[in-house]
Symmetry: C2
Subunit: 306 residues, 2 copies
């Protein structure tokens, strides 16, 4: 949510946006986030904590130290101190911006970020940190090696895609980009292992079709795939494909709630196996039409209507 | 040319196609290629040699040894022996097909191919081999390390693009895909160095716009960019950008002719610097319209009309 335009930078804005969301669907529990920016203060952190808000850092949050050209989080240390003290969760989009002069590009943006995560965790060992939508074996190994306050989310689409799937196919283009088959394998393995610090995060993006199509060399495609309408059946189908179906509940619900300190879910969703289900080619979203991930593809599970 | 459908597999077909091309423009000297396939025989090689033909191998030319699952060129050794004896050039599209089970994808397809090149060169040290459209530092270093019979071509677009340029932008998608900034840097350095075994190969692909656009998640985009209409000005602009303009003539003309044993060019092309030139947004090609690489972008050089 902090990647809205303009970003949400204080408690008032977060609560206003929360009220708008609740007006649409009051049955959902919304966890609001603030955008990590130099305007954020320790006082604002304490205020936000009272309202159950967390903080999210985007790539531009890793600032360039003008003296040494070194990218650093140090300018935010007072904020992180307040967050640690308040036991507030920090979400990280763990990518360093592309820079050809340092050989940084979308492929190594995540791996290049990991030393920042390690440094942050060592300086603030009690600060709960979530490395969001990890895509690489390097990230999985790094998070595993850190303490119990560092967790990691994994999306459905990164359990499915590799670089070949978005090479020349903008509808599968997302950030972070899907990487090598071995990176995908590492994401699958850590779920199969049932590691409690690795849990599901959807990162679903309902871009309009004309933002995902590419009709000219001058048009930039929006990054992101739209998985919301098929989320649980998709994750079940994927986990089943690599023998981790028994980890479904913990992965999508238990581990994340536990890390965030939320009570266990009191509602249950029932899925059933199906041989006759195909993902819709398009999905109505208000007045707009959005094309879901896996459009037209067979999917192995469906939600049983209540 | 062997990647036509159906591919050109013998001398008759190559000469027929050459005649068709000469009917379109008789001023061009066409170097014809045969597709390396199990149907090719040493006799056909000797026949092709008489007509000045070379042989090209595509990824599927690296065959799977059914016993060990090992990809290998060994089935073609009698062909390569005949080619070496006839002093015929072998062109390689140096990529191994993607295979998630071995972590092979478009990003490491070229690096994974290089051991095949090394093995081939060691077994047939006199066989002239061109590794076409190299995209990685690994390929540059590998070719440099081999004997004088192994050369390498570099395209214009691979001197410009990195992975970020085709991530979500299908018009910049080509095979091999453009790689890391450091890989592009290696291509630029070897040209700047004036290494005589590294020369220009255009690999220009005039795909119709509807094959480069991506309007749905089910549509595959054609790999390739169309550089032909701006080729020399583009290469001059790029070489100038990294301080290698003085290598232009050898890179685009001298080194390649020398390696192929062709006489030096007897025609000259004159380029001039310009501050007012932009690449056309589209290019008429017969009845069709094709969008060139760098459409709408400023280009620093132009050909002086004769």
């Amino acid at each position: 949510m902090p990647n809205l335009q303009p970003p949400i930078v204080n408690t008032e804005e977060a609560l206003l946006y929360k009220a708008q969301l609740q007006a649409i669907d009051p049955t959902i529990e919304y966890l609001m986030t603030l955008y990590l920016s130099p305007d954020l203060t320790p006082d604002e952190i304490r205020k936000a904590k009272q309202s159950g808000i967390v903080v999210k850092s985007y790539p531009r949050g890793v600032t360039t130290n003008s003296e040494g050209g070194i990218e650093s989080y140090e300018v935010y240390y007072p904020i992180f101190e307040a967050m640690e003290e308040q036991d507030m969760v920090l979400n990280l989009h763990g990518e360093v911006p592309s820079d050809p002069t340092s050989n940084t590009c979308v492929l190594n943006a995540e791996a290049t970020f990991l030393p920042h995560l390690v440094k942050l965790h060592k300086r603030f060992p009690k600060l709960r940190i979530v490395l969001e939508h990890a895509t690489t074996r390097a990230a999985v190994e790094c998070v595993k090696s850190l303490g119990s306050t560092v967790a990691c989310t994994i999306t459905a689409h990164h359990l499915d895609l590799v670089v070949d799937d978005w090479a020349g196919q903008s509808w599968n283009f997302c950030k972070p980009v899907a990487k090598f088959p071995d990176d995908r394998q590492a994401l699958r393995e850590v779920i199969k292992e049932g590691h409690p610090r690795f849990f599901f995060g959807s990162d679903s993006a309902p871009h309009p079709p004309d933002r995902k199509s590419v009709s000219s060399p001058k048009q930039a495609c929006a990054a992101g795939v739209y998985t919301s309408p098929i989320l649980l059946p998709l994750v079940a189908t994927l986990l089943e494909s690599f023998g981790a179906l028994d980890k479904l509940e913990h992965f999508v619900s238990g581990f994340g709630r536990a890390f965030y300190g939320r009570p266990a879910a009191d509602e249950r969703v029932t899925l059933r196996k199906t041989l006759h289900k195909f993902v819709e080619d398009s999905w109505a979203l208000g007045d707009a039409t959005v094309v879901p991930f896996w459009a037209g593809k067979q999917i192995g599970w469906e939600i049983v209507s209540e």
